[in-house]
Symmetry: C2
Subunit: 392 residues, 2 copies
Amino acid sequence: MPDLAFTQGEFDRRLAAVRADMAARGIDTIAISVPENIYYLSGYSAHSFYSHQVLLVSVAEHDPLLIVRAMDVRCAVHTSWLPAESLMGYDDSYVDNPDRHPWALFARTLRERGFATGRIGLELEGYWLSPKAAAEFTAAVPESEIVDATGLVNWVRTVKSGPELVLMREAGMIADKAMRAAYEAIRPGVRECDAMSHIVAAQIAGTDTISGHFPSEPVFLAAGERADAPHLYWRPSPFAANGSVNVELGGVRAHYNVGLSRTITLGAPPAGIERLMDANREALATGLDYAVAGALAEDVEAAFRERLARYGYDKPSRVGYSIGVGMAPTWIDRTVSLRPGDKTMLREGMTLHLMAGLWREEASCVLSETFIVRDGPPEILTAMPRDLHRAS
Amino acid sequence: MPDLAFTQGEFDRRLAAVRADMAARGIDTIAISVPENIYYLSGYSAHSFYSHQVLLVSVAEHDPLLIVRAMDVRCAVHTSWLPAESLMGYDDSYVDNPDRHPWALFARTLRERGFATGRIGLELEGYWLSPKAAAEFTAAVPESEIVDATGLVNWVRTVKSGPELVLMREAGMIADKAMRAAYEAIRPGVRECDAMSHIVAAQIAGTDTISGHFPSEPVFLAAGERADAPHLYWRPSPFAANGSVNVELGGVRAHYNVGLSRTITLGAPPAGIERLMDANREALATGLDYAVAGALAEDVEAAFRERLARYGYDKPSRVGYSIGVGMAPTWIDRTVSLRPGDKTMLREGMTLHLMAGLWREEASCVLSETFIVRDGPPEILTAMPRDLHRAS
């Protein structure tokens, strides 16, 4: 029996929602390459997406067909609800071979099953469909019209169901635990890599009752003269006696991610960091006040920005995004962005990561929360106080 | 000053080798999207590749131009040797926005600098160039001919230099340390996630003098009824009292990866596992005997296969590949494969991961080594005995 995080009813609901969107857009078949979308619809969970793989979903009521590298069919047997006849493997001669492309095979399979007519959707802006793959596939289904189905499944994923929110809450507990591990480990003189080791160990171990995972994004520790750079990896050098460290990390439960950012001060903190924190705290609280069902994404950002401007500060990058299932390399749903021009109406059950952050010459400081959009006040998924943490 | 793992002379040598291959193939400019290739040539090291980024290298002797999301320019300042005038950022309105594509901007930049003529190479089979990105770029450089430059930099990377081999040896030390952590942690009754936590902590902490990293591939623990599946993630359930666990893990130093696989037995091991191990050990040793400079990749596999056949066994998937720089989602160089039909001649300084593995009904068992190809016997990068480890 496969190890599934959801009931068959939940998977059926998701497939029905995807098929309804396909029908509305006149798409007969969608060839899904984004591993988060494959997981969402089939349960398939394996680190196998560095090889080409596809989930073929037709608008008609057949089971989807999952095609993976032959050795990974067993991974599907253990993790997906799909019956054996809906799993196919391709042999190793198709792996990293310029002369034999799996996507040509996927197209031939579609033809053999009679689905290579009509409009076929490809995720033309996903990470895992190469230009060559799209070209090989397209050439092999000459009777079909290829359309861009980027985001179709992502948008269905953007509103989380009750069972998904249970997992998001558990991911939030793990994020809190990982941040407490960061608070324990980050001290003057401790090597960055040793602190990181301690934090990631907490992310993976989870709690007494649930397993964690490492997140689709690494933990970011921005310390010392590198505090101005958001996405660096860690170093073997020790934390300084004085200064601050920005920590952005995730908690993960069954591939559902919750993001959380805080700033830790070491010894004598940089002058002015308290004021940055006050500005972040107020802007974040204002954003949360506005992030109710029915609001527009850009309105949340506008309220946040206006509040920040009272301090004379500005955050030029987006202040948040939809978060949820993430395998690699990001936990971002790639749908809703909290920024000017995004007119998505927030709906109950969306989960957003709202991020305050100021990177200035005198100091830098981050603060973020992941929350569930509600009709009333949002449900925050972590419990960490919104304060600077002073390393002991 | 940026934090660099190599001297400027080493970076210059790499760029010269890439330019020589470009000239030989008549490519005027290459637009590099694979993060490992960007790192290899520029030193740029950040978890930012979930946003579009490019390193533009012209065959002429100009510095390459790195274009990343605006907030990540600071990451480049801290990690790349490129001077400030060779770094460009694009604003956040280009992020996850169907209407503004970074690759159209990259093409416009190329035009403005006068490099949008002649033949431009794109990595059409990399993970990080989407079909939409390639289409947007191509449409914006109508005077140019687009050619497939997949693998051009990867092939230069395949033969490692002396300074790279130093890092590979250090990665091997970390792989040994991580496997010892697996030997300590994996015991009957211990939860898979707690063992994983212990192993990854060892991968990241590195040694007293060097920092580790988590590998571009997660640690694979295949235990119990899931021992037949190679690429699953871990579970919260405990290891059984009897059975075996296949462990595949990596050690990483400055993004250089060494792979290592061993099998651990628990309590009463499965009947027949010793014979599988004997077959793996002999096939691996035979493969290593044949893997000398001047041999063909397929000959190594043939010798391995012939030896395995004496036991009546067969391994249908490739038995090895070139390994080295890996950021995500794999450490595979995507060049040399040890399998029938690969006629690459092995050269001194290549690093290969040779993998024995048998997945049979009675039991499964894995064994692998990463090594440097030499004129004489290979230099094995780890020191673990090639035995089944019996959990205490």
